[in-house]
């Protein structure tokens, strides 16, 4: 029963049109935030090379930096992945999305949270400029409300499935909602965290926001879309379950590796390093499981326009997360900590992994839901611009970070690290431009898949090859 091919749409098409509307609306919202947040990111990248570009409070680096990160995290990636998770819960369960009204409420809450959080940041109002929890409390509260309501929709849809077993995708997505609701409460209650205590909570929060939310949602979508697109069952259900539990137990312990050499207790940092090595188990179990599912089916990848996105996402999941383990060692952190190397790593994972999986899921699910196919040429352009863009981005920032760390270790005057990184920052702005162009193309493709009138020659059945 663990073969998603066994599940088809609900009998009689009840709710299918509404499911398509929900998936379309989540994807359109997410795409708008992608354009805003990465447009901001692009401006930021040019400010490294031209610091006096557009000097004004509303466009200043320090305010836009948090808008770029929270906008991509909580606007783009969250909304895109949640929309797909709802749709997957319905399709894998042979039913329609339950509580559709609540789904719409959650979408409004996600968007309103992002508007409030981002507008406040632009006015200089932040929850203490701590990474990924910068939104002021009304925005955060709304976001958590959205997580709980959309999670409720997914849980209720799973509860009303046709089959007996809960498909592994829904383990991951349901888990993501549960973990994030708990994480949000722990991280945002201010009354117990002061000074160094807040550093400990920040270490816990910042990595869990990534690893217990985006990772779980993205893996859940991959466990659905990959076998569906390949028309073969996932290689191993057991590896999927192993990945679920090991990710759940290891991930919450590793946050302090972001504060190596800080005044946090030394054993606490060491514990984080040990569990960072443990993270190889879920990462290799997951990416290996996907690779074995793909084995011998590369011709399908060439023929599909959604599969290449998933393949890149899986590859970056393996590479970026393994890099994260290696990076956690003290010997390497001594050079790379606090440099641009970390920024490269975060783009390898949040972009190479999470964003590519989100795109793969959208291209796999949306054309089938709306029966409108995107133009394959433009999907190809999107793919190559984004892939080359992010790969160059990660490459040049890894070099820039290494140079920064080496000038410090060499005892050079500080400004030497700025001068050493400067050429790579310009290259990053160029690769960032490619990534932003890819997003414009993606936005066009989303338009074709949703709002545009249906093309006469559309062949919806060909989407899931």
């Amino acid at each position: 029963m663990q073969d998603v091919r066994a599940y088809v749409g609900p009998p009689g098409g009840r709710g299918v049109a509404e499911d398509a509307r929900i998936l379309s609306a989540f994807t359109i919202s997410a795409t708008i935030w992608l354009l805003i947040a990465t447009g901001v990111g692009l401006l930021l990248s040019f400010k490294y090379s031209y610091p006096d570009l557009l000097t004004s409070p509303l466009l200043s680096f320090g305010r836009l930096r948090a808008i770029h990160t929270t906008g991509t995290f909580y606007g783009w990636a969250s909304i895109a992945l949640v929309g797909c998770a709802m749709y997957v819960a319905a399709r894998s369960g042979g039913t329609a999305i339950r509580l559709p009204r609540l789904a719409w409420v959650s979408l409004w809450a996600y968007n309103l949270a992002a508007v409030i959080g981002i507008a406040a940041l632009d006015l200089g109002l932040s929850n203490g400029s701590q990474e990924y929890r910068e939104w002021i409390w009304p925005a955060t509260l709304l976001f958590l409300f959205a997580v709980v309501t959309s999670g409720w929709v997914v849980v209720d849809t799973v509860a009303h499935r046709v089959g007996h077993d809960i498909y592994i995708s829904n383990w991951y997505t349901v888990g993501g909602f549960v973990f994030t609701a708990i994480l949000g409460v722990v991280a945002f209650l201010p009354w117990y965290q002061y000074g160094l205590g807040q550093v400990a909570v920040q270490a816990f929060y910042m990595h869990n926001a990534v690893g217990m939310w985006f990772t779980f949602l993205a893996l859940g979508l991959t466990y659905y879309a990959l076998p569906k697109l390949l028309n073969r069952p996932i290689y191993s259900y057991a590896l999927g379950v192993l990945g679920f539990w090991t990710n759940l137990v290891f991930y919450p312990v590793i946050g302090a590796h972001h504060y190596l050499f800080s005044p946090l207790p030394w054993w606490f940092q060491t514990l984080a390093i040990v569990f960072s090595v443990g993270m190889l188990v879920p990462v290799w179990a997951g990416s290996g499981n996907f690779a074995l599912t793909l084995r011998g089916r590369w011709s399908s990848v060439r023929r599909s326009y959604a599969l290449p996105f998933l393949v890149v996402g899986i590859a970056y999941y393996f590479l970026g997360s393994t890099q994260g383990t290696v990076e956690a060692f003290r010997s390497l952190q001594a050079i790379w900590h606090l440099t641009n190397y970390t920024v490269g790593h975060s783009h390898a994972t949040m972009y190479g992994f999470i964003t590519f999986i989100a795109w793969g899921a959208v291209y796999a699910l949306l054309p089938r839901a709306t029966e409108k196919e995107p133009p394959q040429l433009w999907v190809g352009i999107h793919f190559w611009l984004a892939l080359i863009g992010v790969t160059v981005y990660v490459g040049v920032l890894s070099i820039a970070g290494t140079e920064q760390g080496l000038t410090w270790a060499n005892g050079d005057p500080f400004i030497a690290s700025v001068e050493a990184a400067a050429p790579y920052w310009l290259a990053r702005a160029v690769s960032g431009t490619m990534m932003f162009l890819a997003h414009l193309v993606f936005a066009y493709n989303v338009y074709v898949m949703t709002l545009a009138p249906r093309r006469a020659a559309a062949t919806p059945a060909g989407v899931i090859a």
Partner: protein, 194 residues
């Protein structure tokens, strides 16, 4: 049909919540609570009212995205001062340790650069004092006037960076921010007594 164990979605939700909830308490809440009670180190004092307002400006403008406030026990960090100690952060909420050092560490900037004049010029236009700096300029923390009025804090911006025929005056927010930066000093650790 009966659904048992992990195929009952309620069991899945509750077991996930219990495991993660326990880990969140052990790895997040308890370390957070315990370390929040770290007493102030010797010589670590609360900020003045002006410096506290300046710290809010520092937070709102996102200074901590490029400037750390943590000195690591590594040779390359000796230039920033002694390694940071737990008691150094007793009055630092929100915490501003930072994660990137695109600009210099500011743990002891008040010692390294005590001059308010330097800080004001640097905030108005960083490239007026450090040619290769890529720090943003913060002209909105200043006012430009035809002539200074009594009580104004004027800023001696070098002519090539100053608005022609005008004087640059530090707004209260700039003065507060400089008060904060000047307050950033490391209290010396007490010598071990024999």
């Amino acid at each position: 049909m009966t659904r048992r164990g992990m195929n009952d979605v309620r069991v899945l939700v509750i077991s996930a919540a219990l495991v993660y909830g326990a880990l969140a308490i052990v790895m997040g809440v308890i370390p957070g609570r315990v370390l929040s009670m770290t007493p102030a180190g010797p010589g670590v004092v609360p900020l003045s009212a002006a410096a506290a307002r300046g710290r809010d400006v520092y937070v709102g403008e996102g200074c901590s995205y490029c400037h750390t406030q943590q000195v690591r026990p590594l040779a390359q960090d000796r230039v920033w001062g002694r390694p940071s100690a737990r008691g150094d952060y007793a009055y630092s909420t929100p915490q501003l340790l930072g994660s990137e050092r695109t600009g210099p560490d500011l743990t002891s900037i008040g010692t390294r650069q005590p001059s308010a004049v330097w800080h004001l010029i640097h905030l108005y236009q960083p490239r007026a004092v450090v040619h290769a700096s890529i720090m943003p300029a913060y002209p909105w923390l200043f006012a430009t006037k035809d002539r200074a009025e009594p009580g104004d804090v004027t800023v001696a911006v070098p002519p090539e960076f100053a608005p022609a025929g005008k004087v640059v005056v530090a707004a209260p927010s700039a003065q507060d921010l400089v008060a904060y930066l000047q307050s950033l000093k490391q209290a010396p650790l007490p010598k071990a007594t024999p």
